[in-house]
């Protein structure tokens, strides 16, 4: 019997053609079926947006706890300011601290949170508009929450998803670069809420939370409201990593009911 022996540089053996006419589409179908099984499980990545076009906003620059812009229509809900990439806008806007400016940048938005990404000092123009001030902080209450510490820029819409283990190194760089960290918690309904994190003096929290980024944590601190913005004062000694117990899935928050007035659903 003639052997259908394949040699690459010789004509394809006629006897093998029926097999490969079947094998090629079957292999392709198996590959596409596997692709479907994987892709159809894609989880929603949050409702954050990152505008492709620039926006110009007028308001007053505030530097503490993080660079923010207070505007007429968001006096009680300031716009967080960041730079392109994983860098804080601190150095760009610091010369304008307490002054009225016009800022041009890309709007990042998720739920009630807004953030403006500015490019350089050319994105800032002095303005003659009235100066505005931050609203007074509410009385702090003690809270203990379980959630995940994320960088605000990615979580609010630049990276979707901007949380979880795969995103950990990015979040770390963002926070090293000066992005405001946030605590992301889920309520019993699975809704997510975000809290801005500051240090025990109400200033930028810096890099002290780096070891706890993107892992499940239990965090205790003092929660207060800056206008409508929920903020938690925290020290690294009051953060406990839960990694190893619940992996990257963080459970319902503890004590969220007691802070419901602060809760701002973001997704």
């Amino acid at each position: 019997m003639k052997r259908d022996f394949y040699v690459g540089y010789l004509p394809f053996p006629v006897g093998l053609k029926p097999l490969f006419r079947l094998l090629i589409p079957v292999t392709l179908l198996i590959a596409l079926g596997t692709v479907y099984l994987i892709a159809e499980k894609t989880p929603a990545a949050g409702s954050g947006t990152w505008a492709l076009d620039t926006t110009t906003v007028t308001g007053t620059i505030v530097m503490d706890p993080y660079p923010m812009l207070i505007t007429d229509d968001r006096q009680d809900n300031p716009i967080l300011l960041v730079q392109l990439g994983k860098m804080s806008a601190h150095d760009i806007v610091a010369p304008y601290a307490g002054q009225s400016v016009e800022l041009t940048g890309f709007m990042i938005e998720r739920g009630p949170w807004q953030m403006l990404e500015i490019e350089s000092s050319e994105s800032v123009q002095a303005s003659t508009a009235d100066k505005l001030t931050l609203p007074t902080a509410s009385e702090p209450i003690a809270v203990s929450l379980q959630g995940e510490i994320v960088d605000s820029k990615c979580m609010l819409g630049v990276m979707k998803p901007g949380a979880g283990k795969v995103h950990r190194d990015c979040a770390e760089l963002c926070i090293m670069g000066g992005m405001p960290p946030m605590l992301l918690v889920k309520n019993a309904d699975g809704d997510k809420a975000a809290y801005l994190l500051v240090d025990e003096n109400g200033k930028a929290v810096g890099t002290q939370l780096l070891p706890f980024i993107a892992v499940p944590v239990r965090l205790s601190g003092s929660a207060f409201r800056l206008g409508k913005m929920p903020v938690i004062q925290v020290q690294s000694k009051d953060v406990q990593a839960l990694a190893g117990e619940v992996l990257a899935a963080f459970g319902p928050s503890i004590g969220l009911a007691g802070t419901s007035s602060f809760c701002r659903i973001v997704s």
Binding site: F5, V35, A39, A45, S47, R168, C170, G244
Partner: protein, 350 residues
């Protein structure tokens, strides 16, 4: 073969192979992105760069599983040899996909920050002691490094420069890289609730690749006649060896010899190991009077174990003779390329 090197020795089969391969790769990537984007509400669709990053990773992983499956599949059934012939193109294609995945990840997760991307890759938080905090991205980096070495040395030029032994050892590192990829997935995306990668993916791949290798290994162990004896060893029932085919025997524990029978019913023995990539010559056949390796078609003359001019490869030959009417073989190899008489033990009247 070794008579000069060109970038790619194109032929029709290679062009068809590469065309189908890349059509499949592009289809898998596009389908992955399209399906992922369509199954979640429009406002919550992951970023396009993340979708592409995932699609590249998924497609690369499927391709790696296929690449590692073709070897044992072709050993178990020679009808699958066409998959093996151009496997290096599949390997280099895989490297392109895996590199794109790696570069995207390095750029998006480690770029644009206060630390340069490679420093960030190796100095970020996490540990190598806790499974839940395991730094999975360096695992992918080292796997990619191995794939780079393999892709860069995939050309026959490097096989000739390094020698088949070193080249083969280098390319066996693919199993180390595969292990690193499985860990990279299991300790990374599989631990994230934000990923679509199912828990079963690495296990399914391991079951296919491991299962085929295990069956192939058992088959190979049982395949050759294991013979021993004195200076001359009897080859029983030589008429069972098909014309233009071979029987592989094993002597001295691990030395494999291919005994071929040509169209004139003459018998000759040569080393079973092809000089190109150590392919099993005895699983090949004689094409136009030449022993032809099943893997890439390298050819040798049965009379002296040398490739026909202008090619220069040579394999060891073995002496055979008739002793009391029986076909016997001397298991001591002759230097590669040594001519010795072929033996015709009987006249086939069929």
């Amino acid at each position: 073969m070794s008579h000069g090197f060109t970038t790619v020795q194109w032929n029709k089969n290679k062009k068809v192979y590469d065309g189908l391969l890349w059509a499949g790769i592009l289809l898998a990537i596009i389908a992955n992105v399209a399906i992922s984007a369509s199954v979640v509400p429009t406002a919550s669709v992951p970023s396009m760069e993340i979708l592409v990053l995932r699609a590249l990773g998924d497609t690369g992983f499927l391709l790696l599983t296929l690449i590692l499956s073709t070897g044992p599949l072709a050993r178990l059934n020679e009808r699958f040899l066409p998959l093996l012939y151009n496997r290096r193109h599949m390997g280099v294609s895989f490297f392109v996909i895996a590199s794109a995945h790696g570069l995207f990840a390095l750029m998006w997760y480690h770029g644009f920050g206060p630390v340069d991307p490679l420093t960030s890759l190796f100095t970020s938080q996490g540990s190598f002691e806790s499974l839940s905090e395991y730094r999975f991205q360096p695992l992918g980096f080292f796997a990619l490094l191995i794939f780079f070495l393999m892709a860069a040395t995939s050309h026959d030029y490097w096989n000739a420069v390094l020698g088949p032994g070193v080249w083969k050892a280098l390319h066996m590192l693919v199993y180390v890289a595969y292990g690193l990829v499985l860990m990279h997935m299991s300790l990374g995306a599989l631990q994230s609730t934000h990923s679509a990668l199912p828990d079963w993916a690495p296990f399914a791949s391991l079951a296919v690749v491991g299962g085929l290798h295990l069956v192939s290994l058992v088959w190979q162990q049982n395949q050759p006649d294991k013979l021993s004896g004195g200076e001359w060893i009897e080859i029983e029932n030589p008429s069972a060896i098909p014309q233009n085919g071979a029987r592989v025997i094993e002597v001295g524990g691990d030395e494999r010899i291919a005994i071929f029978r040509n169209e004139n019913d003459e018998y000759g023995a040569i080393s079973n190991v092809c000089r190109h990539q150590a392919g099993p010559l005895g699983e090949g056949c004689m094409v136009e009077g030449l022993v032809t390796c099943p893997w890439h078609g390298f050819q040798y003359q049965l009379s002296d174990g040398a490739s026909p001019p202008p090619f220069e490869e040579k394999v060891a030959t073995y002496q055979m003779k008739l002793l009391d009417g029986k076909l016997v073989l001397n298991p001591d190899p002759l230097p590669p390329g040594t001519a010795r008489p072929l033996v015709k033990p009987f006249v086939n009247k069929e």
